[in-house]
Every structure is written in C-alpha cells, then in structure tokens.
C-alpha cells in the first residue's frame, strides 16, 4: 500500500517542479522584457542628458568612422554620431507606436464593447466593418493614406491606428461578449443601471487586462510597421532620428563596409519588438491564469 503512494508522490513532485520551472522561466523572460523596455523609455526621456553629441550635427569629414572611443558606434554617412541618433531615435520610435496603440485601442475597444453589448444589427454592421479592415493589408492602407496626406510621422501613425482597429476590436468583442453573460452584469442590468454606466464602470475595467495584453502585442507590431514605413520613406523624414529611417539611410554604408549605422538601430528595433511581444505574452498568460 505504501509503495504506490510514494510513487505517486514522487511523480507529483516532479510535475510540480517542472511546472514551477516553466512558470519561473516565463516570469524571468517577462521580467527581462520589462527591464529592457524600462531602459529604452529611460533612454528616450533622458536623451538630451545622455546623448554624447547632437544627433543632427553633420560633419562630413568624420563620415563613416568605425566605432572608437569618441564615437562608440561610429558615425553615419553624414558624420553624425550613431549612438546619439539611436538614443534620440528612441523618442519617435516609441512615441509612434504609442500613438498607434492608443488610437486603435480607443476606437477598437469602443467598437468591440458596443458590438458585444448591443448585438443585433449594431454587431453585424461593426463586424462587417472590422472584417473589411482585416481583409485590407495594413501597410497598404498606410501607404494609401500617406499618398493622400503626404509622408510624415503623423499620417503614418493615423494610418496604422486605423489598420490596427480590427485587432483591438475583435479581441475586445470576444471578451466583452463573455463578460456580458456573467450574472453580475445581468444583476446590474436588472437594477436598471444605464448601459453606459455598466460598461464603463464594470465591464471595461474587468476586461482591461485582456485589452492591455493585446495592446502590448500590438505595440511591438506597430513598431515594426512604423519602422518599415520609415524605411520605405513614408514615415519620419530625414534628418529626424528614427530607428526605421536610420536603417534605411544606413544601407549604403552597409555595402561600403560600415555596418554600425544600419545594424545598431536595427538591433534596438529587434530588442524592443521582442520585449513587447514577451511582455504581451506575459500579461496574457497572467490573465489566463488568474481568470482560470
């Protein structure tokens, strides 16, 4: 009788330990992502203090210098300090996606909640609108908008915000739909509370963690898309420091044997995007675990 008990116990311990290990690793990755993003935000805020040079200071004599003590990441084709430009670039490169995510979240959550709450023709209309947006490639939409309003950060941010609405709206609708069926929402409805009050004070706060997870994931994607649009020349215009635009400008130097002007901003983009993905997954996982 004792033998099977010890056996089950040991397997139980094993599964418990491996589960802990997985959980621990997930936490460590999320923590690393938070630290990386914290550093990037700090760098963006402190850019004027920590950047060793003026990011737009052109000095053709110093063009394409390899990394040295004076220029830790070397200089670009116009002789500007690459490190200073990466540091200053953090501002636009983080603000751009933030604008995209804020815009798309605001509209997407409104559409999603409205859809889930009202149902019927409101839901049908909103869902078709979301599907049409889905079917339309986001970057193509952005290029169209840029073609109409001209290139620049503002028009690309607006364009991508529109393109990201369906991602936020779809997630919001599905979680709001489930939340709407819960007895506590029903109870508040039976109390005669207004739909506006129930959704804004009860439903939305309760689905906020799901929305946050999705928004964080979108932040990473928006960063790639904005960098891509800058790379193509639609987004941030030279000489403004932006990581995507820097990668584009650094292409020529790359061929000439100076990889730093393109690779440095490229590497930071990768770090930022991966961090946002990990953080988004981390939040989503946490939400799943607490709501399970």
């Amino acid at each position: 009788m004792t033998l099977p008990t010890t056996e089950t116990r040991s397997t139980h311990l094993l599964t418990r330990r491996s589960w802990l290990a997985i959980r621990h690793r997930g936490n460590a990755l999320t923590l690393a992502a938070v630290i990386a993003l914290g550093v990037l935000v700090l760098v963006a805020i402190l850019a004027p203090v920590i950047a060793p040079y003026d990011p737009n200071q052109v000095s053709l004599i110093d063009a394409l210098q390899p990394p040295s003590a004076a220029h830790l990441l070397g200089t670009d084709e116009a002789g500007r300090d690459v490190l200073s430009r990466v540091i200053w670039g953090a501002r636009i490169s983080l603000l751009g996606p933030l604008g995209v995510v804020l815009g798309s979240t605001l509209i997407g959550v409104t559409v999603g909640v409205l859809s889930a709450w009202r149902g019927g023709w409101v839901d049908a209309t909103a869902s078709r609108f979301v599907e049409i947006l889905f079917a339309f490639p986001g970057v193509l939409l952005a290029i169209l908008i840029v073609a109409v309003f001209g290139p620049g950060l503002a028009s690309t941010v607006v364009a991508l915000a529109v393109a990201y609405i369906p991602y936020m709206a779809r997630t919001t609708r599905s979680v709001a739909l489930a939340e709407r069926q819960t007895p506590y929402i029903r109870a508040l409805e039976l109390q005669g509370m207004s739909a506006w009050r129930i959704t804004s004070l009860h439903l939305v706060p309760n689905i906020a963690p799901f929305v946050l997870a999705q928004a964080t994931l979108c932040f990473g994607y928006a960063m790639i898309d904005l960098a891509g649009l800058s790379f193509l020349g639609f987004g941030v215009q030279p000489p403004e420091a932006d990581w995507g635009a820097m990668v584009a400008a650094g292409q020529a130097a790359l061929i000439q044997g100076s990889p730093a002007p393109a690779l440095a901003p490229g590497a930071v983009i990768v770090i930022a995007v991966v961090s946002f993905s990990l953080l988004g997954e981390g939040i989503a996982e946490r939400v799943r675990r607490t709501s399970a």
Partner: protein, 271 residues
C-alpha cells in the same frame, strides 16, 4: 392586493419547437412566499427569466405590484421595477463584480435607487450589510477573498439595498454546501420577518423549498402540474410527477433503482 400575478404565461424557443413554459398562472400575495420546483428543463428558470424581464413571453401577462410588465422595457421601467422586484442568482462566484468590495457594490445600488450620499448612505449600507450578517472584515474584501456563503450574502444585500417588495431567488442556495445553505435559509426567513418582503424561491431541492415557502407550484415540461400550500402538497401529493419528485429525495432506506423504475413508469403513462 397581490404583489405578483402571472396569467397564462407561455414561452417557446426555436420557433415554437421547444415549449419552455406553457400557460402558467399563479398569484403571490404581499409578503407571501412561493416555491417553484421541478427538475432541470421543467421551465422554472425560463419562468424566472420571464418574471424579471430578461426574456419576453410569447403570450400571457405578468403584473408586478399592480403594474403590467411591458414587452419592450425602457431603462426607466427597469429602474422602477428594480425598486419593487430584485433577483438573487444561483452562482455566487459570478454574481458579483470581481473588482468591487461589498461596501462599494452596496453603495452603488443605494445611490442608484435611493439617491442617498455621504453619511446617510454609509448608515444605509451598514444597515443592509448588518441585515445579512456579513462580518466586518469581509465588507472591504474583494469577492475572490470571500467564501461562497459570504458572496451569496452580499448578493442578497445588494438585492435588499433597493428595498424591494419582492425577492426572486433562482436556485440561490444550490451552489452552496449544506451547512451554509441552512444559514442562508435562516437568513432569508429572518429578512422576510423583518422586512415583509415577498419571496419567490425557484429550486430543484424540495427540502429547501419546504423550509422556506408557504405556497408551492410544481412544474413539469413547462406546465404547472400541481399547486397549493407547500406543506399540503409535500405531505399529500396529488400528481404522479410530484410523487415521483418526492420519492427521488435521498433518505434512509431509499432505493435509487426504484426511483428510476417509477420514473420510467411515469413517463410511459404520460406517453
């Protein structure tokens, strides 16, 4: 005057293919208690959803405190009705906002219905939470830190905060374990004695209904098969379905196989 009159109520789903409630009529006096019993699928949940206005009947009337429920209700009508009739749901784990403490939840309802603020609201909140015996510590805790019984007390308090004259409880004790169930039933009996609120208690549990209601209707396949005084119906059931329900209650010397045989016989006779 009766607090609740249900007259010829019918509701079907799936374009008439599923008849959930058929021609149900009953009346509940002010301050009275009515039990609605039946097995799963008997239509008792549909009946409670119709009474609260979550669903609209195909035909029939529901009159609450002299006012007939309209088919398409405005928020104002719902708000007015909420001041008369309140509901407590089965699942105590889902019937509270997970982000609200009991105090916040009660405050919200008091403000919504009474318009009370400040000290008057605090006093009313205390009164309502005292009424359901919620421990002081639990009043500022989030629902996840409350037990099932405590949550159901909060749900009852939330219903009482609107000072209703009719309380509809849909399987309100079914998710609780037996000792907690007894506490909640005692609590309801006391609240009724104190406030004179009328109670409709929907349940599959005959013992629970026996302990709390004076009148009883027995539902089977959407129809009322028997009704009357609870003690009389349970002591001397006239309808074979009521007898079957009673024989299904586990007790010493109880034979589940006999119940299954009785059930088959009953259904065969019906067909």
């Amino acid at each position: 005057m009766s607090i609740l009159t249900v007259d010829g109520l019918s509701k079907s789903y799936d374009h008439g293919r599923v008849q959930a409630v058929t021609d149900v009529s009953f009346e509940l006096a002010q301050g009275g208690t009515l039990g609605v019993v039946g097995e799963s699928g008997s239509g008792k949940t549909t009946l409670s959803r119709l009474i609260t206005g979550i669903e609209q009947p195909d035909s029939g009337r529901i009159v609450v405190a002299g006012t007939e429920l309209e088919a398409r209700t405005s928020r104002r009508a719902r708000h007015e009705r909420a001041g008369i009739m309140q509901m407590v749901f089965q699942d105590p784990y889902q019937s509270l906002d997970p982000r609200q403490t009991p105090e916040e939840a009660i405050d919200e309802i008091i403000t919504l219905h009474g318009g009370l603020r400040g000290a008057a609201r605090t006093a009313r909140r205390r009164e309502v939470l005292d009424q359901v015996d919620l421990p002081e510590r639990a009043r500022r805790a989030l629902p996840r830190d409350l037990s099932g019984g405590q949550r159901q007390r909060v749900a009852i308090a939330r219903a009482l905060a609107a000072s209703p004259r009719l309380l509809l409880l849909d399987e309100a004790t079914s998710a609780l374990d037996v000792s907690v169930q007894a506490q909640i039933l005692r609590l309801l009996a006391r609240i009724r004695a104190d406030t004179g609120v009328a109670i409709v208690f929907v349940s599959h549990d005959l013992e629970v209904v026996r302990s709390i209601t004076e009148e009883l209707i027995v539902m089977f396949r959407g129809e009322v098969v028997e009704s009357g005084e609870t003690s009389r119906v349970l002591r001397d059931p006239q309808h074979p379905y009521t007898r079957l329900l009673l024989s299904s209650v586990p007790r010493p010397g109880w034979d589940p196989d006999q119940v299954s045989r009785d059930r088959r016989t009953f259904l065969r006779q019906l067909a």
